[in-house]
């Protein structure tokens, strides 16, 4: 039986209320933290080696240690703008256990010396935002927030800030702009938010699940926490399994659990008679991996998935079964990023648009296999050339689809041309002589 930090009691009735949370030992870690030196808490976070749960996987302790010390206006921002397609873990965690997040944020704010903290929640999560509002009011009433937290000298104001529907606001600097009441455009980095973030002040931004780990780390001790999971990926992870599976949902596993156990064991695998064609390991921004045994046997942790050519991201596994054409998946994915591109950087704004247009050419039977190379090169031009990674987040899955399923793309092109009465793009007799496979040249995966 693996360790569960969040899901052992998640459906306990009344867990969202302060009284129940307090009964199971809630806010005792905040008490403990207030008796510690802030630096000692950061040491515990460093020892735990807990990595960010939002997508980038950056070590939380290191990020917190980048903040300058001393007396100044510092901020803690919780990134609850969970918009990555396929991700829905923070939603369930916030709705069912809001006080754990509040306690984690209070401890983290104390550790970095922030006197104001904000939860930036996406506007669509109205019920969850209401739950958080109510929980914060309860906690403030009971003295866990506000002036002189639990009788100490430390004061903290915590507010929920509702977004209004923009995927880009999950990017940390765009989130800060949205929180400052502007259009959510990413900023040039450096300076990183740890130095110059919200209102130009040093700001720590962390995902909901990351902050919820903080009370657990203090309770167990950083070193004990680091024993869960693998050496590079410590702790547990809430994995969101969705798409073509028999039981989609959130499942908490120790990092390093075999992928097969998650997809087939917990989520029940694909429907009867279907096979997994490909899967996104970390939301729709992660390069896809084929559903073969080689990939099913991968341990589900940051390093193994990265070695396999993808990324753990937000640990949102989306399963695509063999009845779905890969071109449709690519087009659906690309359209999402085209819609969500903020338009600030040209490679992303134009690249996402032209990728959609080229995929539509394929769908309409106007494309030739050369379009695949052009598309791969467009994706390659986006990578690393923008202020944020939204463009990369389209380029990586699309080029991975071309890499793994090039033959299906080519078949799709020919079929669509035939349907359109345009004739074959490559004469049948020449099919075997189409020249060297150039996809590796453009491949974003493995750079």
């Amino acid at each position: 039986m693996s360790t569960l930090l969040f899901y052992d009691e998640i459906d306990k009735p009344g867990l969202a209320s302060l009284s129940t949370y307090h009964d199971i030992g809630g806010y005792s870690m905040l008490r403990k933290a207030l008796d510690m030196e802030p630096q000692a808490i950061i040491e515990q976070l460093l020892a735990s080696n807990v990595r960010g749960r939002g997508g980038a996987g950056f070590a939380m302790g290191r990020k917190a240690s980048f903040l300058p010390k001393g007396d100044m206006d510092k901020y803690l921002v919780c990134n609850a703008d969970e918009s990555e397609p396929g991700t829905f873990k923070d939603r369930e965690l916030m709705q069912k256990n809001p006080h754990l997040l509040i306690e984690g944020m209070a401890i983290a704010s104390y550790a970095i010396g922030a006197s104001r903290a904000y939860i930036f929640i996406r506007g669509e999560y109205m019920h969850q935002a209401d739950v958080l509002d109510a929980a914060i009011a309860e906690a403030r009433e009971a003295g866990f927030l506000g002036d002189r937290v639990m009788g100490s000298d430390y004061s903290l104001e915590l507010w929920v800030h509702r977004g209004a529907g923009a995927y880009i606001c999950g990017e940390e600097t765009a989130l800060l702009d949205a929180l400052e009441g502007k259009r959510g455009n990413p900023r040039l980095k450096p300076p990183f938010p740890a130095i110059e973030g919200l209102y130009q002040g040093p700001t720590l931004i962390n995902n909901v699940e990351t902050l919820m780990n903080v009370p657990h780390i203090l309770r167990m001790g950083g070193e004990k926490f680091a024993e869960i999971g693998t050496s590079g990926s410590t702790g547990t992870k809430v994995v969101c399994v969705s798409g073509c599976v028999r039981r989609p949902g959130n499942y908490e596993v120790e990092l390093g659990t075999p992928t097969r156990d998650i997809i087939y064991g917990l989520a029940g695998g694909p429907p009867e008679g279907r096979k997994i064609k490909c899967w996104f390991p970390g939301g729709s921004s992660a390069p896809v991996l084929p559903g073969t045994d080689e990939y099913m046997d991968l341990p589900f942790d940051f390093e193994s998935i990265a070695e396999a050519g993808s990324m753990l991201g937000s640990a949102a596994i989306i399963i695509v079964d063999d009845s779905v054409p890969i071109v449709d998946v690519a087009l659906k994915t690309a359209k999402f990023y085209r819609h969500e591109s903020c338009g600030k950087c040209t490679p992303c704004r134009e690249g996402t648009n032209w990728t959609v247009k080229m995929l539509e050419r394929i769908e309409n039977g106007q494309a030739t296999p050369m379009d695949l190379d052009i598309m791969a090169s467009v994706c390659d031009q986006i990578l690393g050339n923008c202020l944020c990674v939204l463009g990369d987040a389209m380029a990586m899955p699309i080029s991975s689809m071309i890499k793994h399923f090039r033959e299906e793309f080519e078949e799709h092109i020919e079929m669509a041309r035939e349907r359109n009465g345009l004739g074959a793009a490559i004469p049948v007799m020449n099919r075997d002589e189409r020249g060297p496979d150039r996809s590796a040249e453009y491949s974003a995966v493995g750079h």
Partner: protein
């Protein structure tokens, strides 16, 4: 004082379709003076703002070191009052927040949840992103559009991933997440909305236990699974980014 027929705001109001909710708001079609420079902060003394709206916005402003931060929640409040981010709504927010209407318009046009033209009062966001599409989200959208028909009170639109792929295909009905939906549910949603009853109470996400406690389904989608992206001319996905 009623504006003369040649008044630009009067002409605009004539073009704007009227809805039941709009008519209930006093002066909803009056105040936008398009000849006024959008870069001038409206004077709170001469702009009519209801006390509730002003106090609610001011309360948000007090939560931040910089009052500008309240722009998103303030616009959302004004949208609730006016039904959409109308020029009047934006002017009222601008007067309270001491920002220019032009600035607030730029913010309102960026975010998907702000309506920049009049819309029906019942909002239905149908998720058509990848996880929902794999389980029939596109068919649900089409069924929902058909069920809504040309009822002006309904505002049905596609939406990007709403973060509820465990109940795919799903929709957010006036902010309440419901799913997994089948085509019959769409009819029921429209009926319940228009008659003012709570929507699909047995399929609400907020009451759902965590997945591990649920029985294993057969994994088959409840509706057709054609994700061939035929839906382009809807809601927010017309010709690329919303505003460039």
């Amino acid at each position: 004082m009623t504006p003369s027929p040649s008044d630009p705001s009067r002409r605009l109001a004539g073009q704007v379709r009227r809805y039941s909710h709009g008519s209930r708001v006093p002066d909803w079609d009056r105040a936008a003076d398009l000849q006024k420079a959008p870069a001038v902060i409206p004077d709170l003394a001469t702009t009519r703002v209801s006390d509730e709206l002003r106090e609610a916005i001011e309360q948000y402003m007090s939560r931040y070191p910089d009052r500008r931060s309240a722009a998103l929640p303030a616009l959302m409040l004004a949208q609730k009052v006016h039904g959409w981010c109308s020029p009047l709504a934006i002017e009222q927010v601008a007067a309270v927040m001491r920002l220019t209407p032009g600035y607030l318009s730029s913010v309102a046009t960026f975010y998907d949840m702000f309506e920049t033209e009049p819309k029906g009062e019942h909002t239905v966001y149908v998720c058509t992103n990848i996880s929902c599409a794999l389980r029939g989200g596109d068919a649900i959208y089409e069924a929902m559009v058909e069920a809504a028909g040309d009822d002006p009170r309904m505002n049905v639109r596609t939406f990007e991933c709403l973060g509820a792929c465990d109940i795919a295909p799903m929709a957010s009905v006036n902010g309440e997440y419901v799913g997994p939906l089948d085509e019959a549910d769409c009819r029921q949603i429209v009926d319940e909305l228009t008659s003012g009853r709570p929507v699909l109470e047995h399929k609400r996400l907020r009451d759902r236990p965590s997945a591990i406690d649920l029985p294993m389904g057969d994994g088959l989608p409840t509706a057709g699974r054609d994700i061939s992206n035929r839906i382009t001319a809807s809601g927010n996905d017309v010709a690329g980014p919303k505003d460039m």
